[in-house]
């Protein structure tokens, strides 16, 4: 029998008996980051493609929620910091190797852009809106004129944001479950899927709804493929990763992951969307809600299970 004990009574809070340094804040923040990245990505994409009128839901309507979601996400991130008064230190340096630094700066850039985007589309919701202030009015005019340029910037930033939400975890070698390059694309796909689903809610036309249902379906397909790929990668890897994947294959996270994330969050909504594409009457919000729920759970479960997995030595 092998017996391995920490005999000094070590019980560092948040570390022992296993890591619990990140709670709900980080997964929520990552979810909102991914979701907003998805929305902004499609908004930018269809602006650049010149399809603003056809897909007004994506370009003009859905992004209205983005600034609010980003602020909630940032608030969650802030709440998670344990040395809050020093948070401004994030903006005293750019650390290219630190995903946290990337995220902080990307959010710093993308949040104002999302506000501008909201501002220049405000008439969509308040048709009688007039900018009273001369400066604001001028600014508005400037951005409206350069909207495509702005969209390009937004496209790039939203991609960075989307990938970052996945890379944040996968940068941690120390946690075998996170130590896979698939998390980046997976979280990106999940964020885009959540974004697409949200756009469905805001879509004006049936045409637009169908497009985003199709996009969503495709993204879900990619996600499922990535998940299978991820597990195959784990099983073929080191002992620690085999054990980490065990958390989902018979281990304590098996049920939450396969039921909440894969079944309810991917397979069922995909099925509903297929039905919808086949012109069956499905309440619009149902697959959307499921996709959003699945996307949220994915982050929660990966965050918690990842903290549970560790090197054995």
């Amino acid at each position: 029998m092998r017996e391995e004990l920490i005999t000094s009574g070590r019980m560092n809070a948040h570390i022992d008996p296993h890591l619990e340094i990140w709670h709900w804040h980080i997964p929520l923040y990552l979810f909102l980051g991914g979701l907003t990245a998805g929305i902004l990505f499609f908004a930018a994409l269809y602006t650049i493609l010149g399809k603003e009128e056809r897909y007004a839901g994506a370009v003009r309507r859905a992004p209205v929620v983005v600034p609010f979601l980003l602020i909630i996400g940032l608030a969650a991130l802030f709440l998670d910091l344990r040395h809050k008064l020093y948070f401004w230190q994030l903006y005293t340096t750019i650390k290219l190797e630190s995903p946290m630094s990337w995220g902080a700066w990307t959010l710093m850039a993308i949040t104002p852009i999302s506000v501008i985007w909201l501002a220049i589309h405000i008439q969509e919701f308040f048709p009688k809106w007039e900018w009273k202030n001369i400066i604001l009015k001028d600014l508005n005019g400037f951005f409206v004129k350069n909207k495509v340029g702005l969209a390009w910037v937004m496209l790039v930033l939203s991609l960075i944001l989307g990938i970052y939400t996945g890379i944040l975890f996968s940068a941690f070698n120390a946690r075998p479950l996170w130590n896979t390059s698939i998390l980046g694309p997976l979280f990106l796909a999940s964020g885009l899927s959540a974004g697409a689903a949200t756009i469905i809610l805001f879509a004006r036309s049936h045409d637009e709804r169908l497009l985003f249902a199709r996009i969503d379906l495709m993204l879900i397909g990619i996600e499922l493929f990535l998940i299978i790929h991820m597990f195959m990668g784990f099983r073929a890897s080191t002992q620690v990763q085999i054990e980490a994947s065990g958390l989902f294959l018979g281990g304590p996270y098996t049920a939450p992951f396969w039921i909440f994330v894969v079944m309810l969050g991917m397979v069922v909504p995909a099925f509903l969307e297929i039905l919808e594409l086949r012109h069956k009457k499905i309440p619009v919000y149902l697959p959307v809600a499921l996709v959003l729920f699945g996307s949220l759970m994915l982050r929660f479960i990966i965050a918690y299970a990842g903290q549970f997995s560790r090197w054995l030595y």
Binding site: E4, P17, P256
Partner: protein
Amino acid sequence: MAHKRRDFIKISSLSAAGLLFGAHQLRSARPDFNKTPFSNMRPVGSVRTSTYCEVCFWKCAGWVYKDQEGNIKKIVGNDDDTNCNGRLCPRGTGGVGMYYDQDRLKTPLIRVAGADGQQTFREASWDEALDVVAKGLAKIKQEHGAECTALLTHGSGGHYFGTLLKAFGSGNIAAPSYAQCRGPREVAFIATYGEGLNSPEPTDIRDTRCLVLIGSHLGENMHNGQVQEMSDAIDKGATIITVDPRFSTAASKSKFWLPIKPATDLALLLSWIHLIIENNWYDEEYVEKYTYGFEQLKQHVKSYTPEWAYGITTIKPDVIRETAREMANAAPSVIVHPGRHVTWYGDDTQRLRAVAILNALLGSWGRRGGFFVPEKAEVPDYPHPPFPKPARTWRDAMDGKFRLADLALANGVCEATIPSVRMDCHIKGWIVNGTNLIMTLPDKQKTLEAIKSLDLLVVVDTMPMEITGYADVVLPECTYLERWDDLRIVQGRVPNVALRMPATDPLYDTKPAYWIAKKLAGKMGLGDYFAWENFEDSLDWQLKQIGSSLDEMKRIGVKNLPREYGPLYFQDGEDKEFYTNTGKIELYSTAFAEEGFDPLPVYTPHQEPPAGYYRLNYGRAPMHTFSRTANNPNLTDLMDENVVWVNPKVAKEWGLTAGQEVYLQNQDGVVSDFPIKVRITERIRFDSVYMVHGFGHNHKQLSRAHGRGASDSQLITRVLVDPIMGGTGMRGNFVTFRFEKESEVES
């Protein structure tokens, strides 16, 4: 409890769900009562004062460091001190916790309700409390005689209260460090060499080539100098032979581990002696020159072959041979370690006699790498009048038993307290200083019976321990970090003295023992025995007698003096006179023969655990000292409860899982007050369980110790008394597991 580190695979899905939904908040973080400010104060180079440690009785000298505000920050060993060589053990380092423990006794207390173990007291002034004590003692003197009082003590305060009691007219002064600890060893070595080992033991471990540990679990037993020297010996490639039924830390460092069946050590020792004599491996010249009774010994051990011992000890004959040869090859640089807590099975003096004999045959006594000749500084006592001769002592209650005991028996004092027809006067008043008798003495019922028949119980302590619960008056002493005390004068390779001075003023309304004793003496008309004005003056006076001064000692902390009585080891061919009847090292003990005991050790079998029971084995954890550290914030942070070690086979039989809480019940039906967690480990035999002594406190006032783990003492109700010197053998108890505690079984 030490936790399994790699436990993630085992968590249940329930806790996974808990994790998801924030159950982490429920997990209690430890209290941050020591929360530090955002500061960079570093104790290096700050103010320091000299002390010597009182967390155990090795008495390492050290320095107390304080920050700019005068707060005690850390304690570090004194480099010049030969007891510690600048390195304290974890308990000494964690000694700061004694001072900061907010559960400390804070003011004198006087009992308001019956002496029932509950701490029902009212606070009192020192004057009032000491009046009660002085009056109580005077009353006992008047009604029964001064000799009907006793002092039970462990620690530096014992000297002052001892002086007080002797001045008062009583000679009943006992410490649990004798009959519950090293008594049998002292008697065995006095019988053999004419002198005991005392403390610190003069074992020359650093230079030894072969160290034999019989039970001594150095590394868990953190007696500092020995642990340090064992490490030196490992570095120098010495052979370590550990005889222990449990895979102790020392066993894991040993070349030979002899996993002996408990209670059979004497058979192994006799067989070693047999081999060493049969093979002429003994030191012929040494034996010839210095010893008495070799021929009798030779005859006596003829039949104790390794094959015979194998049947008893389960140690294979070739292992017994090989280890005997290792010892012989290393001789005389070999130490068959006499151990310290040796009150195991009631025949302990005889077992230790065998140890003493074995060392004599190997010629290790007085030899480099064996036992050195210790010296001790000679410092006169501060002058006081002579003591009156007590009319009677505890020995009179013993019916002539235990005459070979060279010190008083704590259990003997108990016995002399319990009324019986044999005696006309029983002890009526106790002063208990620095010993938690309830956890320290086996057979708690007997201790309680003694306490019940007292007219007065005064307890001097720093903590609200079990014993204070029974006191009529509790006198709170300040901790060793807040007081002056006697000079530390202990034996060693070089004679030396060390100074303890207060690092800070006492917290709360606590006082040093010398102050308490002097005040009491004043009230009892015995002030002459404490003639000094200030305690420091008495120290200065003493120090001046040896060519030092208080000022010098404050600066250096420890003063090493030159040896006065010759070299550290016997010289070649040197004539030696030993303080025995024959003037020789007595392999055959004439003193034992006179008293009617076996002059040569004889093996007798001991009782074995009945089916379903396991021998209760206990010992030390490196970061705790008995019960005195059980509430220490720094040390409980390292270990906050004891666990019961169970062999995997036994665990399987009982369906026990790691970390499960069980109650232990002993052969007399006593069930532990508290449950104890199971540690499943291969390190313990299938016929025993093991636990660290000093846990399972049942006083709520001890906020960190209360209910943590279980008390071995409580389960030691069968006491195997050593017929030779009255030591209380404690390892003849057997326990079994219970999953629920039935309230009707009372302990």
